[in-house]
């Protein structure tokens, strides 16, 4: 085979990996690559800000389970992408970010649009590379995809100096990737599996605590099987929503700072807590020493660093969740003298206890005439989309209301920035999701603050005929911070009042999208129906009860049983 240039080699690598859509923004350092892209058959989605490119690639990855790809130029192009990269890193999302770099001879010279992006992103990527020699280009890209998608997934950045990309090279044959220093553990230790199963069978008050690992490893079915065969109630983290059907009677909804009363009480009273692909984040545990104080803790995670990081674990299982849950289910299948019905019956008093908590403090809100309650908007969205739309969010109150009131029954329908908490994430992520599944309904639930952080991507949505729907819960506040100020800072609203917000209906129209507004409860359903029936990008602007809060709430640093209820 003859030689090809580096750009052609990169395109071939992308095709080899099955990439058909990338999100990017061109510039001098990647102009050669963009030139090759034009005839490659790979769709380039031109965003309006590089942060949007990385979020879109991330949204694409979350809904498909494939590796999302972003292509940015050097310098500011690369630095603008950093928030997106950190967002993907904190939520373990597999993306590959390609950045242009100045020619190797200029590296370190403070050249035009030069920045040490490998240095900058070292702490917020799973791994990153600077390709200094053309012969390393193809092996590095293959390794980058491998690292991004295997083990605990994460973002990988590959920095591509302009001269390297212009060099003629022979395209090497694809050989299996073997990395001496990187071999994630997929299979669980059977001794640990047995210990875990025995502990679960002995439990009187077991709880499954499910995180994003279940989504990432596609193990929702194995999890559901385990929960149902033994009647174990399930609570999910923000990232784990959709990992277990939200409408199932065993589902207690989300736990943690804005979790349900039931979920937090159940965890705190449990005697065996089975953490699956979750990482005991501070928003989940509250005060750590009061978290599940009486429980024997089983923890399944593919990343050994997650185990006993925040909470001491009694039975660790380092493995992919799918492999571990499969092993547990087959151990139970083969267990002699195991009467599953007996175990189910044994759990009945515990489930009755749980139901009492739910009856006492259900997840709810009070409608107040024509003043729109945000929770009502989310419930109506859930109803009108049969709980099966792809929902993305920004970060803040609207995000929590969505997590509380939209009932996700399937994985990979819920796309939200959990770990980093990135405002501005939702709309570009919705574009990425819609690009992956053009026939699905994709809705970004936003606040009036968050939506303005990446509002420019409305143009991207329009340019690519991407009829996403954006539901803004508009209270003219940075509502979550305002809520903290109301509760803990004597209502001193410092920096949280949005005195000027654009007219979102006119703004939508300015971009060629459709703008709809509801100011009364009775208008909500009509607006949502109209938006869903419109084959265009739509902004729905809901004027909501201004000082509505998100409840229950566990104040930061308190025990999860010390919830503020409405």
């Amino acid at each position: 085979m003859g030689k090809i240039n580096g750009s052609q080699a990169i395109i071939k690598c992308l095709q080899e990996e099955g990439v058909n859509t990338i999100f990017g923004f061109p510039g001098g350092a990647v102009i050669d690559l963009y030139d090759e892209l034009l005839d490659s058959g790979i769709k380039n989605v031109l965003v309006r800000h590089e942060q949007g490119a990385v979020h879109a690639a991330d949204g694409y990855a979350r809904v498909t389970g494939e590796v999302g790809v972003a292509l940015l130029t050097s310098g500011p192009g690369a630095t603008n992408g950093v928030t997106g990269i950190a967002t993907a890193y904190l939520d373990s999302i597999p993306i590959v970010v390609l950045t242009g770099q100045v020619p190797t001879a200029l590296i370190g010279n403070d050249a035009f649009q030069e920045v040490d992006i490998v240095g900058i992103t070292r702490p917020c990527t799973k791994h990153n590379y600077l390709v200094k020699e053309a012969k390393d280009l193809v092996p590095t890209l293959r390794e980058a995809f491998h690292v991004a998608r295997t083990g605990r997934p994460g973002p990988v950045l590959v920095d591509l100096p302009k001269d390297v990309v212009a060099t003629m090279i022979k395209f090497p044959e694809k050989t299996p990737i073997r990395m001496q220093t990187y071999q994630p553990t997929y299979e669980p230790h059977m001794g640990q599996v047995e210990k875990a199963c025995k502990a679960i069978l002995k439990a009187k008050r077991p709880v499954l605590y499910v995180g994003g690992g279940v989504i990432l490893s596609n193990s929702n079915e194995e999890l559901t099987q385990l929960a149902k065969r033994l009647n174990i109630p399930v609570t999910m983290t923000l990232m784990g929503l959709g990992g277990f059907p939200g409408t199932d009677p065993l589902s207690m909804g989300m736990l943690g700072m804005h979790g349900s009363y039931t979920a937090n009480m159940a965890v705190s009273k449990s005697d065996v807590l089975i953490a699956v692909g979750a990482r005991f984040d501070d928003r989940v545990t509250g005060r750590v020493d009061a978290f599940a104080p009486n429980a024997k803790i089983i923890h399944i995670d593919i990343d050994p660093t997650s185990i006993s990081k925040n909470v001491k674990v009694d039975i660790p299982i380092v493995a992919d969740c799918k492999h571990a849950l499969t092993a547990m289910n087959s151990w139970l299948d083969q267990a002699k003298d195991l009467n599953e019905d007996e175990i189910k019956t044994k759990h009945e008093p515990w489930l009755a206890n749980i139901n009492e908590w739910t009856e006492k403090h259900p997840m709810g809100y009070t409608n107040e005439g024509e003043t729109i309650k945000p929770q009502f908007v989310i419930e109506t969205l859930s109803k009108l989309t049969a709980g099966d739309a792809i929902i993305t969010t920004e970060v803040g109150q609207h995000q929590m209301w969505t997590a509380q009131f939209y009932k996700f029954n399937r994985p990979r329908r819920w796309v939200t920035s959990g770990g980093l908490g990135t405002m501005g994430y939702g709309m570009p992520a919705a574009i990425g999701a819609k690009m992956a599944f053009p026939n699905e309904t994709v809705i970004d639930v936003a606040g009036d603050g968050s939506i303005q952080m990446c509002i420019q991507e409305l143009a991207t949505a329009k340019q690519y005929g991407c009829p996403i729907k954006i539901a803004i819960l508009n209270n003219n506040y940075l509502g979550m911070v305002r809520q903290w100020q109301e509760l803990f800072y004597d209502k001193r609203y410092s920096g949280t009042i949005m005195e000027v917000t654009p007219d979102f209906v006119k703004l939508a129209e300015a971009y060629g999208a459709v703008g709809l507004r509801a100011t009364k409860t009775s208008e909500v359903e009509g607006v949502i129906k109209k938006a869903l029936a419109t084959d265009n990008t739509v902004i729905m602007d809901f004027t909501i009860a201004r000082e509505e809060g998100v409840f229950p709430m566990v104040p930061a640093g308190k025990a999860t049983t010390e919830m503020l209820l409405v």
Partner: protein
């Protein structure tokens, strides 16, 4: 508690920065760090001395292992091990103290590696305790400058 970790790394640009970045980013501390190539020039060996309770050191070990360029992490202070550090000391050595300095160096089995009219450069190798001891003794005489290598360490072979 003090722990001495021996870490094998790929000898590539930026790898050391991944290690030190991990320590600063996660709030772990480094008491000393020493790194050089091994017999295999594609692999570097790093000796790192850190402090922390068992949970912290467990996290440090796991986090180091998670770095893609890290080949192996051993907490060698868990077993028997040998540790050495070298120090170069520029010590004041004028006519009235020269003899005393030489005596001290002799006791510590050090060497004078450079002589000038007013000072010596002294080389001493040993455990961290020994290095500290000679520094304490020479201080009153007058230490002008000091450079330490940081600890290098190796696990002892099993005796059986």
């Amino acid at each position: 508690m003090k722990h001495t970790l021996s870490v094998l790394l790929q000898n590539k640009p930026g790898v050391l920065s991944r290690v030190t970045g991990l320590f600063s980013g996660r709030g772990f501390n480094i008491e000393s760090l020493s790194v050089a190539e091994t017999l295999d020039e594609s692999v570097s060996s790093l000796t790192l001395v850190t402090r922390g309770d068992d949970a912290i050191v467990e996290q440090i070990t796991k986090q180091l292992h998670k770095l893609i360029d890290v080949i192996k992490v051993t907490d060698i202070s868990e077993g028997e091990f040998v540790e050495r550090e070298m120090v170069l000391i520029r010590v004041k050595a004028e006519s009235n103290t020269r003899a005393e300095v030489l005596r001290v160096i002799d006791i510590f089995r050090g060497k004078v590696v450079d002589v000038s009219p007013k000072s010596y450069i002294v080389e001493v190798t040993g455990s961290t305790t020994k290095i500290k001891a000679i520094i304490d003794i020479l201080k009153p005489i007058g230490i002008k400058e000091i450079v330490r290598t940081g600890t290098v360490a190796m696990a002892r072979a099993s005796k059986s």
